[in-house]
C-alpha cells in the first residue's frame, strides 16, 4: 500500500553539509530567490515601460535629467504604465489598513463584497454538485443522459453567460450579491460534480464485492464505503471550485458597472487610468484567492486527519 520509507532515504545523496545545505535543498530559499528575481524584473520593467512617457515629459519641459532621476521618477509616477511594487504596497497599506473597513474606499470593504458572493455561490454550488453526483452514481439513466453534458460543459467558456445573467436578473429586480453568487454557483458546481462522481466511484470492485458478501444495503454501501472514499476527491475539487467561484464573482461585477467589489475597483481603475488602483485590487484578489484555497486545504487536512487518512 505504501512505499517503504527506508528506500527513499537511501536514494537521497549523502549530504555532508549543515543547515545551509539543508535550506538550499529545501523549498524556502529557492522560492524566495525566485520571488526576489521577479521583484527585480518588475522594478526594471517599471523603469523600462515608464521611461518613454517620462523622457518625452522632460523634453517638453526642458528638464535636465540623468539616469538616476529617470529611475526615481519612474518608480514614483502618479499614473504609471507599470507601478513599482512599493507603490502598490503603499496603496494597499493605505486602502486596507488605514481606512475604516466600512468606508467605500477601503479595499477590505470591496474584498468582503466579493467574498460574500463567492462564498454564497460556492456553498450552493457544492451542495448542488454533490447532490447531482449522488444522483448520477445511483441512477443509471442520469449517468447516461446527464453526465456527458456535465463533462462537455467543462470545455465551453460558461463565464461568457455572466453578463447576461447579471442583466437579466437585474431586469427582474435582482441585484447585488445574489446574481453574482449565481454565476459563482454554476461555475463551481460542474467540477464538484465531476470530482464527486469520481470519488463516489473510487471504491474498487474488491471493496464493493466485500460489501456484497456482507449483504449490505445500498444505503450502507453509500455511507460506509462510498462517502468516506470520496472525501479526498471532494476536497481536490472544492479547491478548484472555490478559486473559480472567486473569478465568477469578480467577472459578475463587471457588466453592470457595480459600485462595490473587487471587479468594480478593476473597472473603475481602468476607466480613470488609475493603474496603481488596478494593481492593488489585483494583488488583494490574488491574496484572497490564495486565502480561500488555503482555508479549504486547512479544513481538508483537519477532516482527513480525523478520518485517519494519514498525511
Amino acid at each position: 500500500m505504501r512505499g517503504i520509507p527506508m528506500m527513499t532515504e537511501a536514494v537521497l545523496p549523502a549530504s555532508s553539509g549543515g543547515g545551509w545545505s539543508r535550506l538550499y535543498q529545501g523549498k524556502t530559499i529557492p522560492v524566495l530567490t525566485v520571488l526576489l528575481f521577479l521583484c527585480a524584473i518588475w522594478y526594471a520593467g517599471a523603469v523600462y515601460l515608464n521611461s518613454s512617457v517620462l523622457i518625452s515629459g522632460y523634453e517638453r519641459n526642458n528638464v535636465e535629467w540623468d539616469a538616476g532621476r529617470l529611475v526615481s521618477d519612474a518608480w514614483a509616477m502618479e499614473r504609471p504604465i507599470l507601478p513599482a511594487p512599493h507603490q502598490i504596497a503603499e496603496e494597499i497599506n493605505k486602502t486596507v489598513f488605514q481606512k475604516k473597513i466600512t468606508s467605500k474606499r477601503s479595499l477590505v470593504y470591496h474584498a468582503w463584497v466579493t467574498t460574500s458572493a463567492t462564498l454564497l455561490g460556492f456553498a450552493f454550488g457544492a451542495l448542488l454538485g454533490i447532490m447531482l453526483a449522488v444522483g448520477i452514481v445511483h441512477v443509471q439513466t442520469l449517468d447516461r443522459s446527464l453526465m456527458p453534458w456535465v463533462i462537455a460543459s467543462q470545455t465551453i467558456p460558461i463565464l461568457a453567460i455572466a453578463p447576461m445573467i447579471i442583466v437579466v436578473l437585474g431586469n427582474m429586480g435582482l441585484t447585488g450579491t445574489i446574481p453574482k453568487s449565481i454565476i459563482s454557483m454554476y461555475l463551481c458546481f460542474f467540477p464538484i460534480t465531476i470530482g464527486m462522481v469520481k470519488g463516489l466511484r473510487s471504491p474498487d470492485v474488491l471493496q464493493l464485492d466485500l460489501m456484497r458478501t456482507y449483504s449490505a444495503s445500498t444505503a450502507q454501501v453509500f455511507w460506509k464505503l462510498r462517502v468516506p472514499a470520496s472525501v479526498p476527491f471532494l476536497f481536490a475539487s472544492l479547491k478548484v471550485a472555490i478559486a473559480i467561484s472567486l473569478v465568477g464573482a469578480i467577472v459578475g461585477e463587471l457588466p453592470t458597472g457595480a459600485v462595490a467589489g473587487i471587479g468594480a475597483r478593476l473597472l473603475a481603475g481602468s476607466y480613470y487610468g488609475q493603474t496603481i488602483q488596478i494593481w492593488s485590487a489585483l494583488i488583494v484578489a490574488s491574496v484572497l484567492g490564495m486565502l480561500l484555497v488555503f482555508l479549504v486545504s486547512v479544513i481538508e487536512r483537519l477532516v482527513m486527519k480525523k478520518m485517519g487518512y494519514g498525511t
Binding site: 536514494v11 538550499y24 529545501g26 523549498k27 529557492p30 522560492v31 530567490t33 525566485v34 520571488l35 515601460l49 504604465i81 443509471q140 439513466t141 449517468d143 447516461r144 443522459s145 446527464l146 453526465m147 456527458p148 453534458w149 462537455a152 467543462q154 470545455t155 465551453i156 467558456p157 463565464l159 461568457a160 453567460i161 453578463p163 447576461m164 442583466v167 437579466v168 431586469n171 427582474m172 479547491k239 478548484v240 478559486a243 472567486l246 473569478v247 469578480i250 467577472v251 463587471l254 457588466p255 473587487i262 478593476l266 473597472l267 481603475g269 481602468s270 487610468g273 493603474t275 488596478i278 494593481w279 485590487a281 489585483l282 484578489a285 490574488s286 484567492g289 490564495m290 480561500l292 484555497v293
Partner: protein, 377 residues
C-alpha cells in the same frame, strides 16, 4: 390491470396523465377554450404516442428494439404538442391540459432514456443516443415553457428565436468568431503554451529554480488572473494583442507546472536504462522524458483551451474594437437583444468544445500507449 400498470410505473403515469390531459383545455382566452380536438394533426400524433406506450406496456420488449420504439413514441408525442402550442398561444394563455401533457411527456421521455441506457452498454450508437435525447428534451421543454408562459424574449428567448437570430446574423457572428477565436485565442494560446513549455524545459535543468517555481505555480492557480485584463488593454490597446497577452499570462503557468510534473514522471528504471546506454541529456529528453510527459502536456493544453476562450471573452468586456464575441455579448445585452447574445454563446460553446475535442483527438493519436487509453478502441 394492476399487472399492466405495474410493469413500469413511469409509463403508466404517462398514460394516465396524458389521457386526462386530452380532456382538459390546452388554451383559454377570448376566443373561448381550445381542446386537443381543435387541432386534428396534434391529436393524431398525440394518440400515436399514447398507442405506442400502450403497446409497449402490453407486450413490448425491454431490448434495443423496444427502447427505440419508445423513443419514437416520445418524439411523436412531443411533436404533437408542438403543433398545438401556437394555436393554444393565440387563445391567450396556455391551459392546464398543455402543462399536464408536458409533465406526462417527461415521464415518457424518462422511460425512453431508462430503456436506452439499459441497452447502451457496449453499443456506441445507443450510448450516444441517450445524451442526445436528453439534450433534445431540455431544448424542447425550454421551447414549450418559453412560448407557453409567454416569457419575454428579453429575459429568455426560445430556442427557435435564438436559431432565427443565429441564421439572421451569420456575418456578424463570423466576424466576431474570427476576431476573438482566430486572432486572439489561437495566437495567445500558441504563445502562452509555447512559452510555458520552453521555460519548463529550461528550468528542468536547474533543480534550484524548479524547487522555487513549482510551489509558486500551484499558488498561481488560486489567483483570478483574468483580472489583469484591464492592464493589458491599457498596455496593448483595444485590438486582439491585448487579449492575446491576457491569454499568454493565463495559459503560461498551467503549461509550466504540468510540463515540469510530466518531466518528473519518468521512472528511475527508465532513466537508469538510458544511463546504461550512455545516452546524452537531449537523447534522454527526447526518447524517454518527453514521451512520458506527453499526457501531462496534453492535460495542460486541454485546460488552457478553455482558459484561453474565457480570457479572450472577458478581456473584451474591458474594451475592444467594435467586433468580437465578448464585445457582442456585453453590448447586445445592454441593447436587450438577448437572442443575439444566446447565438454568440452558442458559437462560443461550439468553438470551445471543438477546440477541446481537436486537442483530445491529437492526444489520443499520440498517447494511445498510455494506460488511460489502452483497451479503448
Amino acid at each position: 390491470m394492476i399487472g399492466f400498470l405495474k410493469r413500469d410505473w413511469t409509463l403508466s403515469g404517462f398514460l394516465v396523465l396524458a389521457l386526462v390531459s386530452f380532456t382538459l383545455p390546452v388554451g383559454s382566452g377570448e376566443g373561448g377554450r381550445l381542446f386537443w380536438t381543435g387541432e386534428m394533426g396534434a391529436l393524431i400524433l398525440g394518440l400515436i404516442g399514447v398507442s405506442i406506450a400502450l403497446f409497449h406496456q402490453w407486450r413490448g420488449t425491454d431490448g434495443p428494439a423496444g427502447a427505440l420504439l419508445v423513443s419514437l413514441g416520445v418524439i411523436l408525442g412531443a411533436a404533437g404538442l408542438l403543433l398545438l402550442i401556437d394555436p393554444a398561444y393565440e387563445q391567450g394563455t396556455a391551459g392546464p391540459g398543455l402543462w399536464l401533457y408536458l409533465l406526462a411527456l417527461g415521464l415518457y421521455a424518462w422511460r425512453a432514456m431508462d430503456l436506452l441506457s439499459r441497452n447502451a452498454t457496449g453499443k456506441r450508437a445507443l450510448s450516444l443516443l441517450v445524451p442526445a435525447l436528453f439534450g433534445m428534451w431540455l431544448i424542447y421543454v425550454w421551447q414549450v415553457v418559453t412560448t407557453g408562459f409567454q416569457v419575454p424574449s428579453v429575459l429568455l428567448p426560445s430556442p427557435v428565436q435564438i436559431a432565427v437570430a443565429f441564421a439572421g446574423h451569420l456575418d456578424i457572428l463570423a466576424a466576431d468568431f474570427y476576431q476573438t477565436f482566430v486572432k486572439s485565442v489561437l495566437s495567445g494560446f500558441v504563445m502562452g503554451c509555447g512559452a510555458g513549455f520552453l521555460v519548463a524545459i529550461l528550468v528542468d535543468r536547474i533543480p534550484f529554480m524548479q524547487r522555487g517555481l513549482l510551489p509558486l505555480g500551484s499558488l498561481v492557480s488560486a489567483i483570478p488572473i483574468v483580472g489583469i485584463a484591464p492592464i493589458m488593454v491599457m498596455w496593448f490597446g483595444f485590438d486582439w494583442q491585448s487579449k492575446a497577452a491576457v491569454i499568454v499570462v493565463m495559459t503560461f503557468f498551467p503549461m509550466l507546472v504540468n510540463t515540469l510534473a510530466g518531466l518528473e514522471a519518468t521512472s528511475h528504471l527508465e532513466k537508469d536504462l538510458m544511463r546504461s546506454y550512455a545516452a546524452s541529456y537531449f537523447q534522454t529528453l527526447l526518447f524517454v522524458r518527453l514521451p512520458n510527459a506527453l499526457p501531462f502536456i496534453f492535460n495542460a493544453l486541454k485546460i488552457n483551451s478553455t482558459l484561453a476562450l474565457i480570457g479572450a471573452i472577458v478581456a473584451e468586456f474591458f474594451g475592444t474594437p467594435i467586433v468580437g464575441m465578448g464585445f457582442r455579448i456585453s453590448t447586445e445585452v445592454g441593447r436587450m437583444n438577448v437572442d443575439i447574445v444566446w447565438a454568440t454563446i452558442a458559437v462560443a460553446a461550439l468553438a470551445g468544445s471543438l477546440f477541446y475535442g481537436g486537442i483530445a483527438l491529437i492526444e489520443r493519436s499520440l498517447t494511445f500507449w498510455h494506460p488511460s487509453y489502452r483497451g479503448k478502441t
